[in-house]
């Protein structure tokens, strides 16, 4: 039988039942490979459920450092009888199936072209442990031990991880080490090594392994956020919970033990955004984090913040929509509902981080932008970035960097007689000055409202006042164009007729796809969009290519719609590559799609074609 032989380049997929303690064992497996200097990118594929339903953990091992989901499975660790058939089916021909053979399974359950490796896990556990919970938990560690034996993973790295994790908890440490060795020794004595092997490398460098939600929350801490209001929703809950953790560690006054932050779990998303807006109005840096359904609920308030010009940051960890959609699957399908959130003419600033490193940077920058522009700023991450641990560049902070609090008129300026008009465009950039409540006894107070007003914040339904204000808001949005992160160009090595535009979590598979395409002779200049409103470079990029692929993870080509609407690019040049089944887009998918389009659009000289 064919056997896949691969060193440092394969996909292992664990099939488990959720609530069985498998998550930490599977992560241990991934981390141990990382400690051997080999990049990994794990992904949790989980149901909207707490206990008893199928869950998967897919680990891509790739020495080059490709982080995108590859597609296909080389080794399935099938621990869930419920999904056996599906898990076996997914294995590539010549791949491996690791399973528990404590109970014999009929031959029909297996595939002829897959190498089955049975190990009596339940039997070993039952013989070793008497407590049912221990039997369950250590079964996971035992299979990690066995895999380490089969795949030549250095057991010392795993034991080191244990000793870091269970520092000061000697009993736990010992029992885990014991289970690990039990599995490893069994595999070494009874099973033959497989063709998938991990070999020590040095491609991890100083990179860090972190999930996007934790990094975003840390960015909020560094960005000076003091008020967070949120309502639990997958996949953003872990962002707020990470913010709580970070604040408990970094935001407690050492002298008094008191909190330099306030976090409220709201009664719903409306209250959460309302609290954030109230705090922003009153001069605190505030945010809420949510996902698509929350964005839908917040629409009215977002319009208020836009029209009354109140800084607020909204972190949207996108999931599959519409409606409840696919709560535990990923998509980039909230672009339009965020870009144009609320009734009336509204437009909002969006940021598109590609990975946890940019989640950190853009979260912190989001607060500067919100204060500078006095408007809601959306951080558009997604489940794939937010809830999966990713190997990425270390987080950086320049201590010389100051928070940009924007145009806030001080008591001294008011006292000195500086003219204050809340909606007066004094600098020509569309951004007026604001004052904070309680600043001056007799100057600078104004009434904030969602109704139309004149430049001095006085209620007015006069057409010219309304138009004047709306035009200023449009000017302000033009200013935003110059402040959001610029797109990044990845030029092809050779002159290219094709361009590609992509953003967010598509970045990892895109980087890989571009390499594969180049190797096949398809050269593509790629531009990663990082902010909206679109800086001028984006329209220029489209104009300089006959065809530009726009790669997105939604059905309706939402970024393309925005590009046509807002960057005024020629829609006939844009070719959509759309992936929206809830799984992260893969390099294979991108390569296939672009190859097909490219073939159809590559003009072969007639002479060549007929000869």
């Amino acid at each position: 039988m064919k056997r896949i032989d691969a060193i440092n380049d394969f996909v292992v997929k664990f099939a488990n039942v959720n609530g069985s303690g498998s998550a930490s064992a599977n992560e241990l497996f991934a981390r141990s490979i990382l400690r051997m200097g080999v990049p990994v990118s794990p992904r949790n594929i989980f149901p909207s459920n707490i206990q008893g339903l199928p869950t998967w953990y897919e680990v891509r091992v790739n020495e080059t450092g490709y982080q995108g989901r590859r597609g296909g499975v080389d080794l399935a660790v099938a621990m869930n009888p419920q999904t056996w058939a599906q898990d076996v089916k997914e294995i590539e021909a010549g791949g491996y199936l690791f399973y528990d053979n404590s109970k014999p399974l009929p031959k029909s359950k297996f595939r002829d072209d897959v190498n089955a490796i049975g190990m009596p896990l339940t039997e070993i556990c039952n013989a070793t442990y008497s407590d049912p919970r221990q039997r369950q938990l250590f079964k996971n560690i035992i299979y990690v031990g066995a895999l380490s034996g089969l795949m030549e993973i250095d057991p010392n790295e795993i034991e080191k991880l244990f000793s870091e994790q269970y520092k000061g908890k000697e009993a736990l440490l010992q029992s885990n080490v014991k289970a690990l060795r039990l599995g490893r020794e069994y595999a070494q004595q009874h099973l033959a090594p497989i063709g998938l092997r991990v070999r020590r490398a040095s491609n991890v460098g100083n990179k860090i392994f972190v999930d996007g939600n934790s990094a975003t929350a840390l960015g909020a801490v560094y960005g000076g956020a003091t008020v967070c209001a949120w309502y639990p929703i997958t996949p953003s809950s872990s962002l707020a919970e990470a913010f709580i953790r970070h604040c408990q560690k970094y935001r407690v006054d050492p002298a008094t033990g008191k909190a330099r932050y306030a976090i409220i779990q709201g009664e719903d998303e409306l209250a959460s955004i309302g609290i954030a807006i109230g705090a922003g109005w009153n001069g605190a840096r505030a945010f809420t984090c949510t996902s698509g359904p929350g964005i839908s609920l917040m629409q009215e308030f977002i319009g208020l913040a836009y029209f009354a010009e109140i800084p607020v940051v909204i972190m949207d960890v996108q999931r599959g929509g519409p409606s409840t959609g696919m709560p535990t699957r990923t998509q980039q399908s909230d672009l339009l509902s965020c870009a144009y959130a609320s009734h009336g003419d509204t437009k909002h600033v969006l940021l598109f981080p590609e990975d946890p490193t940019e989640c950190f940077e853009f979260a912190a920058q989001g607060f500067d932008l919100a204060d500078r522009l006095q408007t809601p700023v959306f951080l558009m991450t997604d489940l794939d970035i937010g809830m999966n641990t990713r190997l990425c560049d270390p987080l950086q902070w320049d201590d010389k960097r100051a928070h940009d609090r924007g145009k806030v008129m001080t008591r001294e300026e008011l006292e000195a007689g500086k003219e204050f008009g809340r909606y007066l465009d004094v600098d020509g950039d569309g951004i007026p000055f604001r004052t904070l409540p309680g600043t001056h006894p007799s100057r600078g107070a104004y009434f904030t409202r969602g109704t139309t007003k004149d430049r001095y914040a006085r209620y007015s339904e006069a057409g010219p006042d309304y138009v004047d204000n709306m035009q200023r808001l449009a000017r302000k949005f033009d200013t935003a164009k110059t402040l959001v992160p610029k797109p990044l160009l990845r030029p092809a090595d050779k002159p290219a007729r094709f361009g590609a535009i992509y953003y967010g979590s598509t970045s990892a598979p895109m980087n890989e796809a571009l390499d594969v395409l180049a190797a096949r002779g398809i050269h593509v200049n790629a531009l990663r969009v990082r902010g909206f409103p679109f800086p001028d470079e984006i329209a220029d990029f489209v104009a300089s290519h006959p065809w530009v692929f726009v790669i997105e993870q939604n059905r309706d080509a939402q970024l393309k719609t925005l590009l046509v609407n807002e960057a005024k690019v020629n829609p006939s040049r844009l070719l959509s590559v759309l992936h929206y089944d809830g799984t992260p887009i893969t390099a294979r998918f991108i390569v296939d799609q672009i190859s097909q389009h490219a073939a159809a659009r590559t003009v072969v000289p007639l002479k060549k074609a007929v000869s």
Binding site: Y250, E267, H440
Partner: protein, 351 residues
């Protein structure tokens, strides 16, 4: 409404309070509400209360939702920042504002449509959290700005202007506030300034969620016979359980009162709410008894007013969250940003 703006010039003999402001300094722009609207009397009571309390006007933030009542913050405290937010959502905006700066006084003004219908959830949760604020509901049982639909506080059987009786059970905001943990609960009547001004003063000085339900007749749509929120009806059925004197500092109970006739409730800041009992057995610090009493009297058709419940020594949301004394909006970057050295340690732990 009046079209004549009052002159800005102050009469030199106008009395100033200890912070140097006359009563006129607490006014806002001219009201655009209907002549005789109860809400204007409430605005006047707020003006009077703030002047008497020697509050600097700019240290107050006034917030509201949408509706006639929510328009009123324009008509008082013209030197305070105001925020006319979205319908039914004043409580969340106020909560956020309060979190950002604990040093200001927060006055939330809402109506029965704003708080009892669309904003019932936010009303409830702001009471639960104990936000330090005065929450006033200007309650007229009707949607005024949309011309006369019943609101959720309209009594069952109360008739609309067209003579149609309301068939829904009314929402009891006082009962809800008590159940949900408000630490200061009062009901008053816009037509009773003597009762209202000291109540507002006491509410401002109370730390925690202070809720005042003020029955405030709508002269345009709900002041006819058959309405239970008309001036006449409320005057006839008003049963005050106590009269309140607000005292800046605790002083000896003078001989004017018979023993047991007066209850003193000390506030956080040293001020005292002195209640002269009108109903001898009424104890406004016993929440369970208060709830029972109010249900009984409501069943008997009375509109009980006064300071109905107060919890001495109440804690507020900042106490619950254990936030620093410095307002969060004044914390420096040094206090907020852990810096590059800490970040390097974080990076190291993620390898």
């Amino acid at each position: 409404m009046t079209y004549i703006a009052k002159p800005k010039l102050h009469h030199p003999t106008l009395a100033k309070n200890t912070v140097g402001y006359t009563r006129r300094d607490y006014e806002g722009t001219v009201s655009t509400l209907c002549a005789g609207c109860g809400h204007d009397s409430i605005s006047a009571a707020i003006v009077q209360a703030c002047w008497e309390l020697d509050i600097e006007p700019h240290r107050v933030a006034k917030l509201s939702g949408i509706g006639c009542s929510s328009k009123t913050p324009t008509y008082f405290l013209g030197n305070s920042h105001g925020f006319n937010s979205v319908h039914g959502r004043m409580p969340s905006v106020l909560t956020g504002a309060n979190l950002a700066n604990r040093d200001l006084i927060y006055m939330g003004v809402s109506g029965d449509g704003d708080s009892a219908s669309i904003g019932l959830g936010q009303f409830a949760h702001s009471m639960r959290r104990g936000i330090n604020m005065v929450y006033i509901v200007e309650n007229n049982g009707v949607y005024g700005l949309t011309k006369g639909q019943f609101s959720a506080t309209a009594d069952r059987g109360s008739k609309s202007k067209r003579g149609i009786a309301n068939t829904d059970e009314p929402l009891d905001m006082i009962g809800m506030a008590l159940l949900l943990g408000a630490t200061f609960v009062a009901r008053s009547f816009s037509g009773d300034k003597k009762q209202l001004v000291p109540l507002v003063k006491a509410a401002v000085r109370h730390r925690g969620a202070a809720f005042i339900d003020i029955i405030s007749p709508c002269v345009a749509f709900n002041n006819h016979s058959g309405s239970t929120k008309s001036y006449d009806y409320v005057r006839e059925h008003n049963e005050a359980v106590n009269r309140l004197d607000f005292i800046e500092e605790k002083s000896e109970i003078t001989a004017d009162y018979a023993p047991g006739e007066v209850i003193d409730v000390a506030q956080h800041d040293g001020s005292v709410v002195r209640l002269r009992k009108l109903t001898p057995e009424y104890d406004p610090t016993d929440r369970i008894k208060v709830m029972n009493y109010l249900q009984e009297r409501a069943a008997a058709g009375e509109v009980v007013t006064g300071l109905l419940y107060v919890q001495p020594g109440a804690a507020d949301l900042h106490d619950h969250l254990n936030t620093v004394e410095t307002p969060l909006n004044r914390l420096s970057e040094r206090e907020l940003c852990p810096g590059s050295v800490a970040l390097e340690r974080i990076n190291a732990a993620l390898r």
